[in-house]
Structure formats: structure tokens, C-alpha cells
């Protein structure tokens, strides 16, 4: 019997991760996606491309990011040793920059000087604006009007770097609607414009390209663990909205079955439809934004409304590779509530002197809880995907609601 193919051997030529993925887009975009696929293959084989990207990741982003022992959080949990992979120390304060620099270089190779992007929390928007400023590219960022309100500091920073931020008023006025508007822009501008998708979602080849650019997180973590501990970690945890930090963190580990991998989704207010954004925990197979994956949807296939305190996780779908890892059992997926995430924000701020993003706080909540149940001989790594400065005002607002007892979840 031949050996089973490695978990990492996806996607296939049609962009399939098992049954998931693919390319469900209007014909107008087909040629551009083919072009991107070809250009990416050429870039991968081009040492100059890799050298230029590595140089930027080092001098511009500040990689490698450190692996920090979370000493006082570990003491608090009283179990497994917790480590933070410090993506929050990346330039722009989150992992998103790893992908935007890579795709920005691809855009220039294709002769495309106009860049569009969508953003939820604003981290991908800022990272795109940053790459465009660095490369001298025109930059337009679509952002749900509700998120423009929730993530004002990031909106301001994008504008500082010369990007045009277009608030999206349609639908739920969040990340999903921003993606719809970016896709519509691309339908009419595809010949001179590259769409830098910010997560491992969308039509082939985006889920693969974004995963590859983000895999620097997992590769560094794997090396750091070998050097610092002489072995791989027992457990790796990351938050999952679209799932880019998790995909980049997990991918280098998927062929090491001894490492337990856990993705944490946004459990929102409750498990009721409309109260959360946990596609793998509560969704079903469906097609959204160009690929087949788990989607929160009704019986007809209409996308459901979702909720999360975290704008970056407030999305009704998830990357197709996560759907594949979910169905094959390679990665466990769970969820934590808004309230648990906010508590974890407080805990990590006070015990570690690190303000984590609300997205990241979901992973931290689960990790602190799980560490308490594991022996101190075990090593648990959390992908600290981003810093929480952008969330400070929103957290303060939520606390205000809690103070008078109306509507807050904690």
C-alpha cells in the first residue's frame, strides 16, 4: 500500500484542498487568476524574488519575531509552559504584512500598479497601505462602515500612508461586504489592478499564496522550538477568522502529527445563529467569495449575519485549507465567547505587559484555560497574531456599557 500523501501536499492543480477550495468566480476574473498563478510559480522559482522578500521581512518587518516565554501567565495557569510567537512585534503590529509584501512584489512583477484590498480590523488594510507606500503603488482599501467606526486608529494610519479608504455601506457593513466591494472593483479594473486578499480565503490561487507567505510564522516557530527546547512544541494555538495567521502557523507543523494544533473561532455572544462567527464550529459546506469551504448560511445558501466583538474575526466563512484540516481531523477547532476573549485581553495585559488584539485574545483565552489542564513538562505556543492598540477605544466603550449593566457580555 502506498504511503498516504502528506497533509501538506495540497492544493492540487485546480486549487483543491480535498473537496474544498476551487475557483467560483465570474469569468471576467478567470484570466487574472490564471495570470497570478503563473506569476507566482515563476516567482517561487526565482531566487531574486525570494531574496528581495527575505530582505524586506528582515529589515522592514523586523523578522524573525521572537518566541517569548509568558512567565506570569504560565504561573497563573499553573500547567503547561506558554510561549508567545510575537507577530505583534512585526512592523504594522500584526502578521498581515508578511502577505502584503509578498503580493505587492507579485503585483509589480505583473506590471500592475493599482492595488485594492479589503479589511476587517484594519490590520490588513494598514499592511497593504504600508506595502504600497514602500513600493510606490496606488492603494484603495474597502472597509465596512461599521468597522471604520470600530477601528478608527487603523483608518487614520492607512490615510497617513496615502491609501484611499472607501467605507462600504451595503449589507452588514463589515468584512464580508468589504470583500464583495473589492471583488466588484476588481471586476472592472482587473487588467491594471491586483487584489491583495488578506486571508487564506477567496478563489484559487489566493488561499495557497497567502498560506505560503504566512508560513514564515510557523517555520520560524519550528526552528525556535528546536533551538530553545531541542524539540517541537506539544501544542500550537491560533485564532481563526478567515484563518491566515493560523494557516501560516500550522502549515509547517501539519506533517508532524505529534504536535497538537488548535484553531480558536469567534464564539460571539452565544451559539445561536447570528450571535457568533464560528464557521467551522457551526457552519456547513458552501461557497462564499470564490471557494468551497465551511460557511455560516441558511438552508437556501444565503450567507448568514454574524457577530464577533473582534472585527477581524467577524466573517461568515473560513479558508478552504482549514475546512480540509477540520474534516481530516488534523487540526481541532473550537470557539470562545466575546466575554472570554475580553477577559483574556485583561489577563495578558496585566500579567505579561502585552496588549493583544481582540482577535488574538480568543486564542489566548483558550490557551490559558487549556494550559491549566496540562502538565508543566508540556510546551504550548500561541500565535500572538497582533497588538491590541487598535482595539483600546472599543474595549473602553464596551467597559462603559458593562459599567451601567446594559448590553455588555461580561
Amino acid at each position: 500500500m502506498p504511503a498516504a500523501p502528506a497533509v501538506s501536499s495540497v492544493p492540487d492543480a485546480l486549487g483543491r484542498f480535498g473537496r474544498f477550495g476551487g475557483r467560483y468566480v465570474p469569468e471576467t476574473l478567470s484570466a487574472a487568476l490564471d495570470q497570478l498563478e503563473r506569476e507566482y510559480a515563476k516567482a517561487q522559482a526565482d531566487p531574486e524574488f525570494q531574496a528581495e522578500l527575505d530582505g524586506l521581512l528582515s529589515a522592514f518587518v523586523g523578522r524573525p519575531t521572537p518566541l517569548l516565554f509568558a512567565k506570569r501567565l504560565t504561573e497563573y495557569a499553573g500547567g503547561a509552559r506558554i510561549f508567545f510567537k510575537r507577530e505583534d512585534l512585526s512592523h504594522t503590529g500584526a502578521h498581515k504584512i508578511n502577505n502584503t509584501l509578498g503580493q505587492g512584489l507579485l503585483a509589480m512583477r505583473m506590471g500592475k500598479r493599482r492595488i485594492i484590498a479589503e479589511t476587517g480590523a484594519g490590520q490588513h488594510g494598514v499592511a497593504t497601505a504600508t506595502a504600497c507606500a514602500r513600493f510606490g503603488l496606488e492603494c484603495i482599501v474597502y472597509m465596512g462602515a461599521e468597522d471604520v467606526r470600530r477601528q478608527a486608529p487603523n483608518v487614520r494610519n492607512m490615510r497617513f500612508m496615502g491609501a484611499e479608504v472607501r467605507p462600504v455601506e451595503s449589507g452588514s457593513r463589515t468584512l464580508r461586504d468589504a470583500i464583495n466591494e473589492a471583488m466588484r472593483d476588481w471586476m472592472g479594473s482587473v487588467e491594471n489592478t491586483h487584489y491583495i486578499i488578506g486571508s487564506v480565503v477567496g478563489p484559487h490561487p489566493f488561499p495557497r499564496i497567502v498560506r505560503d507567505f504566512q508560513s514564515v510564522i510557523g517555520r520560524e516557530t519550528l526552528d525556535q522550538c528546536r533551538r530553545q527546547f531541542g524539540r517541537l512544541p506539544d501544542m500550537v494555538v491560533a485564532c481563526v477568522g478567515g484563518g491566515s495567521n493560523a494557516a501560516g502557523m500550522f502549515y509547517p507543523f501539519v506533517d508532524h502529527p505529534e504536535v497538537r494544533l488548535v484553531g480558536v473561532e469567534a464564539g460571539g455572544r452565544s451559539g445561536k445563529p447570528g450571535d457568533h462567527a464560528a464557521s467551522l464550529s457551526y457552519g456547513s459546506p458552501g461557497i462564499l467569495h470564490g471557494s468551497l469551504s465551511y460557511v455560516l448560511q441558511d438552508l437556501d445558501g444565503q450567507t448568514a449575519d454574524v457577530h464577533s466583538v473582534s472585527a477581524g474575526l467577524d466573517y461568515p466563512g473560513v479558508g478552504p485549507e482549514h475546512a480540509y484540516w477540520h474534516d481530516t481531523g488534523r487540526v481541532e477547532y473550537t470557539s470562545v465567547t466575546d466575554g472570554e476573549a475580553l477577559d483574556a485581553f485583561d489577563l495578558v495585559a496585566r500579567r505579561e505587559g502585552v496588549l493583544p488584539a481582540l482577535e488574538t485574545s480568543h486564542a489566548l483565552a483558550w490557551a490559558a484555560n487549556e494550559a491549566a489542564r496540562r502538565p508543566s513538562s508540556e510546551i504550548l505556543v500561541v500565535c500572538l497574531s497582533g497588538r491590541g492598540d487598535k482595539d483600546a477605544a472599543e474595549i473602553a466603550r464596551l467597559r462603559g456599557l458593562a459599567a451601567d449593566g446594559s448590553g455588555a457580555t461580561r
Binding site: V25, P26, N180, I287, G301, T303
Partner: protein, 276 residues
């Protein structure tokens, strides 16, 4: 089977409708109507008015929450319909009631997200039972379409494919060969919506496609006026008018239904006249 032994198949009815237009020396006119905007009963009546006004066929837009190929007018109509509680059951009911009253074939314009969720076999069976003649699935490219293609061929329903200005020639040829019922030639790179001018190169593209397929070639996206219809009809086998009609229905939403229907019938009659 309850159908009469000699009842023509859905795709044959579509072919007959094109043939009848040709025999009358006319080009085909395919208006687009959003199912359930503003409500189920009005949609049925709008389809009847479109039929009376001389349309060759009609596209029935199936409301979808995230239509990335559509511009603001059709998107807003989908949002209104979904907001008023329209489901796929309503859409099939509209098709069934209308197809009992008009002779023009009706095709569903539906996102593949909806087809996939219901299951291809069930979606196709429901569509056939509702009297639909076929599908346009704007977000299903050639590479992903084998299963739906097989189901449509088995059910004798049309699966209309789209070619666009960004489609390379060899790919356009492959798409044209696969398309059944007719070939949808998208006039511009972009989303649906009325535009004031026809894009340069369109006429050459149609002439080239003409050498690649025997099915009728219909042009859509951005066509809104009788003048544009006349210009396109001079070279293509027909035209599709979407957003302009959807906007007309939306703008008459506050009026009495009879007034809406009169406006629709007048507009489509003018378009049909430009196809002569």
C-alpha cells in the same frame, strides 16, 4: 412521466423561441427581472408584462446575499427581495406561475452558491418542475461546471455560459463550444449596470465568436436604451437588458401595481421594437 409524449423539452422550447424571432426577422430580446422584488405577486405580473411586450425569453434573477458580479442596482434588488423574506421556494413558485401564463422561456440567473447548497440534482429538478428552461450561473467558470453541465443535459435544460472581454481567445472558444441554449457575451469587464456607451471592439468580438459556435450569441451588461439595443442587434443575435428594467420596477415601487406593469410593458415594447 406525466408530460405528454410530444411535449418539447425545455431547451427545445428555448430554441423554438429563437427560431420564431428569426423567422419574423427580429433579434432576440432577453429582459432580466429580479424574483420577488418588490414581492412575489408583482414579479409574476412583471414577467407576464415582459412576455406580452414581445420578449423572446426572460432571465429571472434569483436573489443572493453576496452577488459579486452585480452592480448596485441588481444588488439592491436582491437585498430588497431577501429583506422581504423571499426564499428559493418563492422563486420557483414565481417561475411556475409565470411559465403557466407566458410562452416565452424563462431562465434562472442564479449564483452557484445557491445551486451547491440545495444540491445540483435537486436544484435542477426543482427548476424543471417550475417550468424553467435553463440557467445562467455567473460565478461558475468552465473548470468547475462538469457536474451541473451533466445534470442540465440529462434534464434537457440549457446551461448558458459567459464570455467576457478578458477571456483569452482559446478559452472563449472552449466556453462557446460548451454553452447550450445561447452564449452570453458580456460587453464590458465589470459588474452589471447601465452604461452610456458600447465598448470599442465589441462588434469585432461578436463577429469572431460567430465563427466558433452555432448557438445564438446574446450581448449583455451595460445595455439600457433602445438606441443601444439597435446598435448591438445589428451584429449579435440578441440583447439582454438587466439593470435598466430592474431600476424601472424599483422606481415604480411606490406606484400602483398597474402603473408599474404599464411602465414595464411600455419599456420592453420599445426595446423589442429596436430588435426588429
Amino acid at each position: 412521466m406525466t408530460a405528454a409524449p410530444h411535449a418539447p423539452s425545455p431547451i427545445a422550447r428555448l430554441g423554438a423561441s429563437f427560431a420564431a424571432a428569426r423567422a419574423a426577422g427580429r433579434k432576440a430580446l432577453a429582459p432580466f427581472v429580479t424574483a420577488g422584488d418588490p414581492d412575489v405577486a408583482t414579479s409574476v405580473a412583471v414577467l407576464e408584462a415582459v412576455g406580452r411586450a414581445g420578449a423572446t425569453l426572460c432571465e429571472l434573477g434569483v436573489p443572493y446575499s453576496d452577488p459579486i458580479a452585480d452592480g448596485p442596482v441588481i444588488q439592491a434588488s436582491y437585498t430588497r427581495a431577501l429583506g422581504s423574506g423571499v426564499t428559493l421556494e418563492h422563486v420557483f413558485a414565481i417561475a411556475k406561475q409565470a411559465s403557466a401564463k407566458v410562452t416565452m422561456p424563462i431562465l434562472a440567473m442564479a449564483s452557484y452558491s445557491l445551486v451547491f447548497r440545495r444540491g445540483i440534482d435537486r436544484f435542477v429538478a426543482d427548476a424543471k418542475a417550475a417550468g424553467l428552461a435553463g440557467f445562467v450561473v455567473p460565478d461558475l467558470p468552465l473548470e468547475e461546471s462538469d457536474d451541473l453541465d451533466a445534470a442540465c443535459r440529462a434534464a434537457e435544460l440549457a446551461l448558458v455560459r459567459l464570455v467576457t472581454p478578458t477571456t483569452p481567445p482559446e478559452r472563449a472558444e472552449a466556453i462557446a463550444r460548451k454553452s447550450t441554449g445561447f452564449l452570453y457575451c458580456v460587453s464590458v469587464a465589470g459588474v452589471t449596470g447601465a452604461r452610456t456607451e458600447l465598448p470599442p471592439g465589441l462588434l469585432d468580438r461578436i463577429a469572431w465568436l460567430r465563427t466558433k459556435t452555432d448557438v445564438p450569441i446574446l450581448v449583455g451588461f451595460g445595455i439600457s436604451s433602445p438606441e443601444q439595443v439597435r446598435a448591438v442587434a445589428a451584429v449579435a443575435d440578441g440583447v439582454i437588458v438587466g439593470s435598466a428594467l430592474v431600476r424601472l420596477v424599483a422606481e415604480s415601487a411606490s406606484a400602483e401595481r398597474n402603473e408599474t406593469l404599464a411602465n414595464v410593458e411600455r419599456f420592453v415594447t420599445d426595446l423589442a421594437a429596436a430588435c426588429g
